[in-house]
Every structure is written in C-alpha cells, then in structure tokens.
C-alpha cells in the first residue's frame, strides 16, 4: 500500500487540539501516513489599503496586522513541531499556512483538488451560533467530497 495522505485543518481552538491528539495517537505509529497540517487565514483586505483615501495612520496599522499574522504563523509552526514530538517523523509532517479570500471550505477543497488526500480529520464544532451562521463544515465537506475518509473528532 502506498503513502496515505492525511489532511488536518487547524484553527487553534480547543476542539482542534482534540483532533490533533486523535491524529497523533491514531496515525503516528503508522509509517505510511503523511500529515498536512493546514491553516488558511483570511487575507488582509488588500483592495482597501490601496485606496488613495486611506489615511497614513491606517497604512501604519496594516503593518501591525501583518506582524500579528507572523505571530500566528510561529504558533502554527509550534503545532507542527508538536506532531513531530508525538511520533511523526519530520519528513512526514508538512505545515501549510496561507491566506485565503473565500470560506475555509473552499480553501480545503482547493488543497484537496491538488493533493488528493486519503483522510481528512476535522474537529466537531458544537451547535454554536458560528455554525448557525456559516453551516457545519464537516457536513458541507462530506457533501462536496467523494472517495475520502473523513474523521470527525468530537
């Protein structure tokens, strides 16, 4: 059997930590599993900062926003290191941290289109208002994908 490609979308919540623990406990002992840890943040509103009417103060503030995103990327790299500490060889853990303009669902689907994952591990989002407004990610992902094993960690 060839390499099994696993996607772990990660958004820094306590629920995502559970999904990470599940991934480490279940898949780290398997030598044929390659993990892609994935976070897609909403890109800074570029169109607006190019607007001539934007004040200098706002432009200065945008560099602070960029610094905060770099901070988040450092935390994300620590999460990758944690997967390695928990048993995955470094060569089998990839961290993808990138901007997105659309919903996170689209970012996951785009990545899957290119990488063709065998397994996707998602955290279960309880019936929060966020889900009420945006819909359930795992329900929508299951509807959109075929021939992929989707694990939902509750």
């Amino acid at each position: 059997m060839g390499t099994q490609k696993l996607l772990l979308p990660y958004n820094f919540s306590e629920r995502d930590r559970k999904a990470l623990e599940f991934t480490a406990n279940t898949f780290a002992p398997h030598a044929d599993v390659e993990v892609t840890l994935f976070h897609a943040y909403l890109s800074l509103p570029e169109v607006e900062i190019q607007d001539r009417q934007v004040t200098e103060r706002l432009k200065g503030g945008m560099s602070y926003l960029q610094a905060k995103i770099s901070e988040l990327e450092s935390v994300f790299k620590n999460v990758r290191d944690e997967l390695i500490d928990r048993g995955f060889p470094p060569a089998r853990v990839r961290a993808v941290f990138r901007p997105r303009k659309k919903e996170v669902l689209n970012a996951i689907l785009d990545l899957h289109q290119r990488e063709r994952f065998n397994v996707i591990v998602l955290s279960h989002r309880p019936a929060t208002l966020g889900r009420f407004f945006a819909g359930s990610l795992h329900t929508r992902l299951i509807s959109a994908l075929a021939n992929v094993t989707i694990c939902v960690v509750s």
Binding site: L44, Q53, E103
Partner: protein
C-alpha cells in the same frame, strides 16, 4: 490616549466598504476587526454573537488577541461587562479600576489595559457585542463612540442578512438533493 478623535470619514469609508464587499459573515467580521485594529491603533477587536439559550457570547470574528486568551473559557453575558447586553455601551477606560471583567487576570496577562464594549442591536434586541481592546488607558471621544455604535448596528444587519442567505442556501441544497423519481410521482399524482 486622550479624547482625540480616531475615526474620520476616510476610516469610516474603508471600514463600511469592507462590510459591504464581504461575501460571508466570517469575512465581514474578520475584515472589520482587522481594519478597526489598524485604524484605531489598538491591540485587538472581537465581534460576538449572543447565544440566547446559553447566555454565552460566541466569537464570530476577531483579530489581534492571542490564541491562549481566545481559548480562556466561555464568555458569559451576565459576568462579562454585562451592561452591554442591556443595550448600553460600556467603556472600561482602565481595567485596573474596573470590577466588571469575567477574566481579569487573563486580561492583564494579555496586555490589555482598556476595553470598549458596544451592543450589536437588531430590531431593538441585543444580539451580540463589538469589543475593542487597547494596550493603554483609553478615553474614547463621544464622536468615536457614536461612529462605533453605527458600525455595530451595521453588524447586526449583516448578521440578519447572512442568516437569511444561509436559509436560502439550505433550501437550495435540499431541493438539489431531491430525487427526480419523487418529482415524477408527485406530477402523476
């Protein structure tokens, strides 16, 4: 920070455009948070929806706060700057002199010194809150407070619209899933 005015018409234009051009509530609240942080030179911003069943304020958009602060625990409307949920803006100009915080220690550790909390109101009901966090003591001007209240009202409208759009999408998906056999049998009946 004194009572200088931070929100001028240019800032207001940029921020309202971000709201108008966003295609989802998540994007709208994220852009709004980012732009308010940048424009006001503050530490962070969060936009919450009030869950009427649990009394919890759930984050729907945020920027500038650390992962550990965001994961500190549930934000309960009765314990966390409660007057906002009665429809009144709450200005905590200096947290050292305030007794309205649910997580005072975590707030200090995060490096927050002042919080402005504004109600998000729709049809006369409080449905959420817009909160701004600053590293320094902050005495906001009345005009900036009014501008932020207008933005909070726009967030309320956007939340209402998003929910309607979501409902239409759900109906569309349900109709799309319907098997043609069902439709044919209904036609014949």
């Amino acid at each position: 920070m004194g009572k200088e005015e931070k929100i001028d018409i240019d800032v207001f234009k940029v921020v309202t455009r971000a709201i108008a051009h966003s295609d989802s509530l998540e994007a709208m609240t994220a852009y709004l948070s980012q732009l308010l942080v940048a424009a006001l030179g503050i530490k962070g911003c969060s936009i919450f929806a009030l869950n009427p069943e649990t009394g919890e304020l759930e984050i729907i958009g945020t920027f500038g706060l650390s992962v550990s602060f965001l994961n500190k625990g549930p934000v309960l409307s009765k314990k966390s700057i409660a007057r906002t949920l009665k429809g009144t803006p709450v200005i905590v100009a200096d947290i050292e002199a305030a007794k309205v915080l649910q997580y005072p220690e975590q707030t200090r550790t995060e490096g927050i010194r002042a919080i402005i909390s504004l109600p998000v109101i729709l049809n006369g009901k409080v449905i959420g809150a817009l909160r701004l966090y600053h590293r320094e003591v902050w005495k906001i001007s009345d005009r900036d407070k009014d501008s932020l209240l207008v933005l909070a009202e726009m967030i309320g409208l956007a939340m209402s619209y998003t929910r309607l759009a979501q409902a239409v999408q759900a109906v569309h998906e349900a109709v799309g899933d319907m098997h043609t056999v069902w439709l044919i049998s209904r036609d014949k009946g």
